[in-house]
Amino acid sequence: MVRLEGVSRVYQRGASTIRAVQGISLEVARGEFLAIMGPSGSGKSTLLNLIGGLDRPTDGDILIEGRSTRGLTEAEWTTLRRERIGVVFQFFNLLPGLTARENVALPLLLRGDADPGARVEDCLAAVGLAHRGEHRPSELSGGEQQRVALARALAHRPALLLADEPTGNLDSTVGREIVQLIKALARQGGQTVVLATHSRDAAAAADRVLIMRDGAVQKEGLPS
């Protein structure tokens, strides 16, 4: 589903050079749940951004569903995200002015779906929030907000779900629930999941774990 070939990302900050990701090569199979662990600054989020096309590698190539993304234009990346990729963030990043239902509908509306109603209801029901659709983010708990964010990420039936520290802002119980929900929904929808996390609990739900340090893969294996 996703293959990285010698991917690097180097930032220039004034006189200093920051090597956020250094020559990573890896492959994530269709339907696999991969967890990336590592301390702050190890390059987890950068790697997820690169896979999602939110940032561009300075070297190497990323292949999604066998297709090279090297040289994709901004518009092509946007189309790819709209069709094939869903994203969940640590701080939920729901639009505060919209209700839960509207937040879930947003990616569908942005790609021009005329009537996203039924799909939105399905997604809200899947995350157990069918009854909270008219509530705004400020009226929901952290766990509920992350469920809405998950429903939003899955609304357009992506092939790949990227989750960047989705439990980082939640207590451990709710965090575990969210990871289990991600796993269950991904299994159900046949989605590939790449999850960046600090939490061993969260990583335990994955099929495989990658440990990063200083922008490189330090260790790879099964979850403990």
């Binding site: 951004n49 940032d55 869903g86 994203v87 963030f89 639009l95 505060p96 002015g97 919209l98 942005l110």
Partner: protein, 871 residues
């Protein structure tokens, strides 16, 4: 490494576009102020120079206080030099006993000459050339190295032109000038050029001078003078000499100091300047909003930084000082840029205002040029720039220092302050409107509508108070009107604006002020123009006007002889000819226009619109009672009315008249007095006419009669013939020119407001980087992000437009019914101008979209990954 560089400078240069917008807003406000203030100073200085420069060493002037052309008997000069007492009184034995060292006779001729650019007014000074060196500091040169040829200089056709004046019109020594004055046409030869010296050099080089004897002979003014310039003994008080002289001068002659005329002009133009200056202040007000906006954002964005600094031990005062240093820096840079820009603008503003002053007050100073920056104006510009910046920042800074460190350090959204409370906002707006209504009631303070301005300010404040409510209403309104799927971006934009109604209200208020000013002033001008047009239609009935060339700028001396009237009356198709004479006289030390005309002819063929009474009846009563009628502006200015009595300065002393009526008049700001021609001739002995209004018989062809006029007046002075339509067009042209400057100021206010919108959007984008990045991450295209910002811009524009329309209409009523009436005394009927409103609203919406273009482009280019970073 200083605290300033670490904590202030870093922010100023860290976000250059936003800093530049704020500096630009302050600069534009200061520039308008400096340009208008410089123009004000320069025009008054040019008046002063024109009066004092020509006056030279003159300390007192004896003149005909009645303002009537024809002057006074020149023999009075002997009495003055004799030391007191009229000519037939016993002479005072001691020479210069009254303190007069020198008495120089002057004749003033207002002539017209024809140049390549058309008819030009040429004021000629007839002076004693041989005595000039003692009074005015200039040298006559004929361009050769020879000694002055006095014999030729004193010939009746010799004229001397100031070097600048001659250069402007392409005249040189030896050029001939075809000159018309007082109904006479003469050919004069330029015998020399005047080179000015000293402080008044430039003014002196704008003069046209003849020897007094030549001027009297050439223009048939033998034995008559217009003025006597006196140089008094410096050892004696000028006022004391003035009083002594006034005591023995015959009635009708007055002694004044040359600078008194200047004070009169200052008094006369005060209301006009105040209005223009206040318009320029509006640009500053909008600049104030802009600073408020920027600092509010800075405070919000640096919330955490403030918390950290507080936690590190910086006191609230220290935090305030940091922000104040930043805004002071913005103020100083903005003021410096504004002063430079203002001085660059000032010449254009100066020319426009000089023309307006000439149109309004009938004064024609030599068109001034900005030659130097007045230090007081520069200091004011700097103070205003810094003052506006500091004042605009006080609210947000207070908020910054009042936040507790723990609160500031807590992770929150960028918009946490300024929550909207609906009831207090509504109550505040209602209170402002109530106070505005109350402030509209009192009269002017020393002729200045101070309470009227206060009322306008309160109206604007009331609408500003409403703006957060309007912004917050936009979301629910769109929610009702449009389903999310139909206008997803519009809804998102409205929700985004509604999240920060107070913050966005500042940008909306800035636009509202600019638009309200535009709509208020445009409606006032439109109503004024319609009123004047209607007034012209109802009161200017003459089919043709026979006038001297360059009328109406030719002044009292640009007169035509009475004999022309009879010749005009003999033209077939002419049913009546009025002879209209206008002169300026001083009434209560203020120059007013006095018009003498054949009131019975006017009553029969035309009319005045009287405040009370029918035109024919009031005019007949005026003639019967040897009374006068006064304009509404005159009545208001001097608190006089029908049935009151007033005096005018006559050649034989003050003449008292009964006021028989008050009429509406829009031809002059200073007020007008009208009396019958025979009554005027009886008291002032002046039988000439300024123009002849000609009435045609029904069915007569105006063009045919117009063609016959030159033929019938052959051999007489040159004239121009205007049709009724020509005259009305000319009046309306002058009207439009007069108000040109207000449009320029409105445009500047709107531009500053647009900077405010752009600034607000730009700040919003910087603060919402993550939100916009999320939008991109979930599938939004850069174009959709750009459109979202444009929707926000458009919605801000819409809110500003809705409020601006309301405030503009309220302002127009205040301008018409209170401010204008109290400033100038004109009654203006309010004429709605829906297309003006639509045009202004359309323009505001269009330009706010333009203002959103740059921020939208910036938002489209924001790096998504950076936007998603948490720290």
């Amino acid at each position: 490494m200083t605290v300033f560089r670490l904590l202030v400078w870093r922010h100023v240069i860290g976000e250059v576009p936003r800093t530049a917008l704020t500096v630009g807003g302050v600069a534009l406000g200061v520039a308008v102020y400096v340009a208008v203030a410089t123009a004000n100073v320069e025009i008054l200085r040019s008046f002063e120079q024109a009066i004092l420069g020509v006056a030279g060493r003159t300390t007192l002037q004896v003149s005909n206080g009645t303002g009537v052309a024809g002057g006074f008997d020149e023999t009075i000069i002997e009495a003055i030099l004799a030391g007191g007492g009229p000519a037939d009184a016993p002479p005072v034995p001691t020479s210069h006993a009254n303190g007069v060292l020198l008495a120089v006779p002057v004749v003033e001729i207002t002539a017209t000459i024809v140049t390549e650019g058309g008819s030009v007014i040429l004021p000629i000074l007839g002076v004693d050339l041989l005595a000039e060196a003692d009074v005015r500091d200039y040298r006559v040169t004929d361009g050769s190295a020879n000694d002055p040829d006095w014999e030729r200089y004193l010939e009746p056709d010799a004229i001397f032109l100031g070097r600048r004046l001659a250069g402007r019109h392409g005249f040189a020594v030896g050029s001939t000038l075809e000159v018309s004055a007082g109904g006479l046409s003469r050919r004069l030869v330029v015998r020399g050029l005047l080179e000015g010296r000293g402080a008044g050099a430039s003014t002196l080089e704008e003069l046209a001078v003849m020897d007094i004897a030549a001027a009297q002979l050439t223009f048939e003014r033998l034995g008559r003078l217009d003025r006597i310039d006196l140089v008094t003994d410096s050892a004696r008080s000028v006022d004391e000499v003035s009083r002594a002289l006034q005591a023995f001068l015959p009635p009708g002659l007055t002694v004044t100091r040359p600078d008194q005329r200047n004070a009169q002009i200052e008094r006369m133009t005060r209301a006009f300047w105040l209005n223009v200056s206040l318009l320029s202040v509006v640009a500053l007000l909008v600049g104030l909003f802009l600073v408020y906006n920027t600092v509010s954002f800075a405070v919000l964005r640096r919330r955490r930084e403030v918390g950290i600094l507080r936690a590190l031990g910086l006191s609230p005062c220290g935090i305030a000082r940091l922000f104040l240093a930043e805004v002071a820096l913005i103020g100083v840079v903005g003021a410096a840029a504004g002063i430079g820009f203002g001085l660059a603008l000032s010449n254009g503003v100066l020319q426009t205002l000089a023309r307006t002053v000439s149109n309004l007050y009938g004064e024609v100073p030599a068109l001034p040029q900005v030659t130097w920056a007045h230090p007081a104006v520069l200091a004011q510009g700097l103070l205003i720039g810094v003052g506006v910046a500091v004042l605009g920042s006080l609210g947000p800074i207070r908020e910054a220092v009042s936040v507790e460190p723990t609160q500031a350090l807590a992770p929150k959204g960028y918009e946490t302050a300024g929550a909207l409370r609906v009831v207090p906002a509504l109550a505040g707006a209602a209170l402002m409107f109530l106070l505005a209504a109350l402030a509209a009631l009192p009269g002017p303070v020393q002729g200045v509508p101070l309470f009227g301005y206060l009322s306008a300010f309160l109206v604007v404040l009331g609408f500003a108070w409403l703006s957060p409510l309007v912004i917050r209403a936009a979301g629910p309104c769109l929610r009702l009107l449009l389903p999310l799927r139909a206008a997803c971006l519009a809804r998102l934009a409205a929700d985004e604006l509604g999240r920060a109604p107070v913050r966005n209200a500042v940008a909306v208020s800035a636009l509202m002020v600019g638009l309200a000013l535009m709509i208020g002033v445009s409606t006032m001008i439109h109503s004024f123009r319609q009123t004047v047009d209607l007034w012209l239609e109802q009161t200017v009935k003459a089919d043709l006007i026979v006038a001297p060339p360059a009328w109406p700028g030719s002044g009292p001396a640009g007169a035509l002889p009475e004999s022309l009237r009879g010749r005009l009356e003999t033209i077939p198709g002419v049913t009546a000819v009025d002879s209209y004479r206008d002169v300026r006289m001083a009434f209560r030390d203020t120059p007013v226009v006095v018009v003498a005309r054949d009131l019975m002819v006017h009553a029969k063929h035309s009319r005045y619109l009287f405040v009370d009474g029918d035109s024919r009846t009031v005019l007949a009563e005026t003639v019967r009672a040897d009374g006068i009628i006064i304009s509404e502006t005159f009545a208001r200015q001097f608190r006089l009315g029908q049935g009151d009595r007033m005096t005018l300065p006559g050649p034989r002393g003050p003449v008292e008249f009964l006021i028989a009526g008050v009429f509406y008049d829009y031809s002059t700001d200073g007020g007008k007095v009208v009396l019958d021609r025979s009554l005027y001739a009886r008291h002032w002995g002046d039988r000439s006419a300024t123009v002849f209004p000609v009435y045609l018989a029904p069915g007569a062809d105006p063009e045919a009669v117009r063609r016959m006029v030159p033929e019938r007046l052959q051999g007489g002075p040159p004239v121009m013939i205007l049709t009724n339509g020509d005259l009305r067009r000319e009046v309306l042209r002058i009207f439009d020119q007069t108000f040109a400057i207000t449009y320029a100021l409105e445009v500047i206010a709107v531009v500053v407001a647009l900077l405010g919108i752009a600034n607000a959007l730009l700040c919003g984008i910087l603060e919402r980087r993550r939100e916009l990045a999320v939008l991109r991450a979930i599938g939004g295209t850069p174009a959709q992000v750009g459109r979202l910002i444009l929707w926000e811009s458009g919605l801000l524009g819409l809110a500003g437009t809705v409020l601006g329309l309301g405030a503009g209409l309220a302002l127009s009523v205040l301008l018409i019914a209170v401010i204008n009436k109290q400033s100038f005394g004109w009654t203006i009927v309010l004429y709605p101008a829906p297309w003006v409103w639509l045009e202004a609203a359309g323009l505001a919406l269009l330009t706010t979209l333009l203002a959103g273009y740059w921020p939208a482009r910036r938002a489209m280019r924001l790096p998504v990954a950076e936007g998603l970073q948490y720290e």
